[in-house]
Assembly symmetry: D3
């Protein structure tokens, strides 16, 4: 029942770039506080913010064979999204696969398992979000699924969805609604920029956002 | 029963600076190995060491409203100490609140929950000690308590206590005893400086601290 | 029953250097995917890769006395391997012990417990792999064992075994087989270098490693 | 954006009963080793095995309001499937809601959060699978979604899907394929029954399943 | 600085009995959703519900000496509340100490560490709430504090406070307010009893608690 | 490199029975507080206490093939000790393998991974100590090692060592020293029996064990 779906549609790369530039927190808020992967997915580098299209890959525990299959299916702008069929911290991905991924146009990897060769990965500038750093080697015995819908770190991901990743973690934007989310995210970013100036000048969010009355109604007392 | 206590006394800022300069490990030892927050509270930056007065803030899970209330109560030298009423990793604090906090004279935040916008927070140089980095947005529906005694990451904190934080974590020094702790901490630091020179020269702590006899009494055998 | 074994043989330092240079992932693979410590053991620094001989140290929970004893037994090229007799996150090791360790020729520490003074440790360039950063102080009441076989972070370590540590974690190479492991590791590194060039040029591991037929046999379908 | 979908189709109750009788492990295997919730979801009772239709409920952290809304939407044979929008251990569900749930025909609850009043729940015979037992009270301030697709404990659940739960955990069977899964599960159960007799008589699975040749091919050596 | 405070006042035993009978969830709610210990504290038995006065005991990691000291300070109706100065899972308490505790009138133990001999403890009917079951033995080298305020499993406990414990966990009621909390808890229990009857008869909490209008205001839509 | 060692010597079964009868805590203490597996290994049943000889089995993550191989190597009195080569919670062992194990004279299983069919296992009375209950199915693709030394849950186990398991967890007694450990354990049990009578009569361990003077020397003060 292992299968590779070859005709997955991707979100437009321009959308990915624009959403990526806005970052995880803003995009997550803009789509109604949805789409986040669990907090256990952390970057191995600092200061990288990217957007791309999900190339989903389901692997057996301790078996990275399907990552090799994934390399052939990659398109420029893809971000590998890897989820094991049961929890596993093994080092599925290292510098060799990263070399191949880079050559095939993959922008980064998001994996709810482990990676290794992290010094090399950082050196290559290949961005990684992962649950664990662990050198444990894997086998190539069991086939899995490529480009099927997966749950990765508690987020549902369809092939071709937009993946946004930065120092805050990873957010998934369904392909169909991505353009609308971008609009809302840009609006939110602009609104936040305004508030930032007011707060930097010492104004209080209590006043800027008119919170005092409602706080009193809720029973907040000053002593 | 939500309340904001407005007249909390703070430890003297000079004491905070002096304790902050000595750092968490030294201060913790000097007050009899007490006052540490749990090891899950980690900095998002490296190389920052600060002291300040606790501005305590109790929040509902997934609700950061009281942080907005806290901004108004801040004084120069305060460190926000945030604890949720039940465990929560949501991103209570991000770049907007940090902008406000900085403008209001807050030196940093210690939070037994999550933060987001960490790239911005690092960029601003606003120091953060936290349990989690997680972009999950919060609501503003439930009021809590400000400037009341709280248990934060298993440490008891009263408003106005001295908070010391660095790469080793966070230590709380009760306001009343802070001056005495400072004396002991300075003494300890001086004593450690002496030992450091001896150890650097190759001397053994077994000799410097005269441990051999007691080790033998305890039954240590060399084979 | 606490004892210090004084005549432990060490692996040759040249072997340690050579294995250290190859790094954890390569060495782990070369010895048949064995020898890794658990993923909870993480470096406090980035970009350090070392090899050395295990100086094993078994300590009581919350008691770092045996680390002081260990300093005297150290030889140039040793790496301290510390394991508590029950799980403990306390800060067993800080800048004073690191000063002594450095002066005694110890190359680094691997500890399945906590360390403190990490800003100083990073500043000194003393490499540390640890389960936790925690300032909690320890006592000196209970003696333990030095240079006996220990299980550290789920890996069996004999005194004098080769310890390899880098950003990927820690790997143990039994002294007896170390020379053979080195040969295999070098061979593997050379083979990986070849593949890296092919992958960088865009070739697929499916072809380079001739995987397509076996994948089909296992039932992988393209849709 | 909070919504209650009122027209969700349910799997046939007979299918639920039949799948429930076969149990989690058999059903999970029968549908290709898919559909399991994470191992953190554990029963508070022993020896209960049920099947039912998913009544999905998405709640805010620390807020159980939507569970009250869910009671009205329940049909006989439903199993409540509750997932918070971010991780939370609070006690969302206790004896009062269980009383209501029972009266409304709900067969049990599966919740990736906490429950309380567990002594009463056990006494009532209302079956519960949960991540945590925690008495922490919740508020009623934030609305969520009812009968929408959710990810619960890393499994995707659509309203009306079949939920199977027993001492091994929880498995989700998509409504569309449930009849086919039942057939395969029954076949598997029959086959296992045959093997059980052979094994009980002392025969080896090596022989029953003809494994020896393949083991040798894979390189297994006897010494 | 280790000390035993000998004159701690206890809450009245009648209050303890009454609060104990109401149970953790009701009491926790009655005092404004405060006082709970963390969810990691679990009973080793089922179906026990007790109240008593806190006999607080602070111990070093891996060292149970102060538990022996505690036996002498016990009064009828006390519940031992044990917290280590840093996290530890060792087996501080087993059947011998339980025998002594029972003989001295102690009603049970709450410990943020480990216990052992749990089969015997269950057999004796001595109630235990604990973080871990672990046979690891402890030493008697380091003195600690008895009957001082402690933070146990993230709850602040003063000597003589009321401890309520049942299958839901552990709740602390400060001595001063215990009588008032009892009144509120009884009121709450009565109110819940009324609701239970309505719910059992099939009425909805949406109607009983008049929630529909507010849900609509918050934006809940039916589709 | 996968191998099955066929000539492993076992500890005498009488020793196993005697040590098993004394239980984990007593045996662990008798051999100098060593030999415990980590606290994560918990029984799925209550009230079972057994001893037997270790039949060690090393498995790949998500692959239970070697358990089938193990059945043939079992002797009466063996206890299966299973450890994965990297952390894994999958359900390696269920009712079919238990049926076979029982028929082959195996007394129980200790596994640092997951099991399933736990209702059946309890029903059969086949004792299990495990890290997880999880229905996740496994494959049969990768061979491992049988009857070689393993680290299981942080304890070193050689084939034929004595395994003692009860409600407190699991303890390993090396074959060579088992007879001596038994003597010490019996002595300890007798001594504890004496103390139990004294404590039950209300005597204090402070007096029975003559602790008062040493406590005072250590600085314990009564206030």
């Amino acid at each position: 029942m292992a299968r590779v779906v070859t005709n997955a549609e991707r979100a437009a790369i321009g959308l990915c770039d624009a959403l990526g530039a806005l970052g995880v927190s803003t995009v997550h808020e803009a789509q109604g506080r949805t789409g986040l992967m669990a907090a256990r997915i952390r970057p191995i580098q600092q200061g990288v913010r990217i957007g791309g299209t999900a190339l989903t890959c389901e692997v057996a525990p301790g078996d990275n064979w399907m990552l090799h299959v994934a390399m052939e299916r990659a398109r420029h702008g893809d971000i590998l999204v890897v989820t094991p069929t049961s929890p596993c911290d093994d080092g599925y991905f290292g510098d060799l696969l990263a070399t191949s991924a880079k050559a095939r146009g993959i922008r980064g990897i998001v994996i709810d398992a482990g990676v290794r060769d992290v010094a090399d990965l950082r050196g290559m500038g290949f961005p990684v979000w992962t649950k664990a750093v662990f050198a444990q080697g894997t086998v190539k015995e069991t086939v899995g699924n490529l480009q099927v819908p997966v749950v990765c770190a508690e987020a549902l991901v369809h092939p071709g969805d937009v993946i946004v990743a930065d120092d805050d973690g990873v957010c998934v934007v369904p392909r169909a609604g991505a353009a609308e989310v971008l609009k809302k995210a840009e609006k939110r970013a602009a609104m936040e920029e305004e508030k930032r100036l007011l707060y930097a000048a010492g104004q209080l969010s209590l006043d800027v956002n008119d919170m005092r009355e409602r706080l009193a109604e809720k029973g907040l007392r000053y002593e």
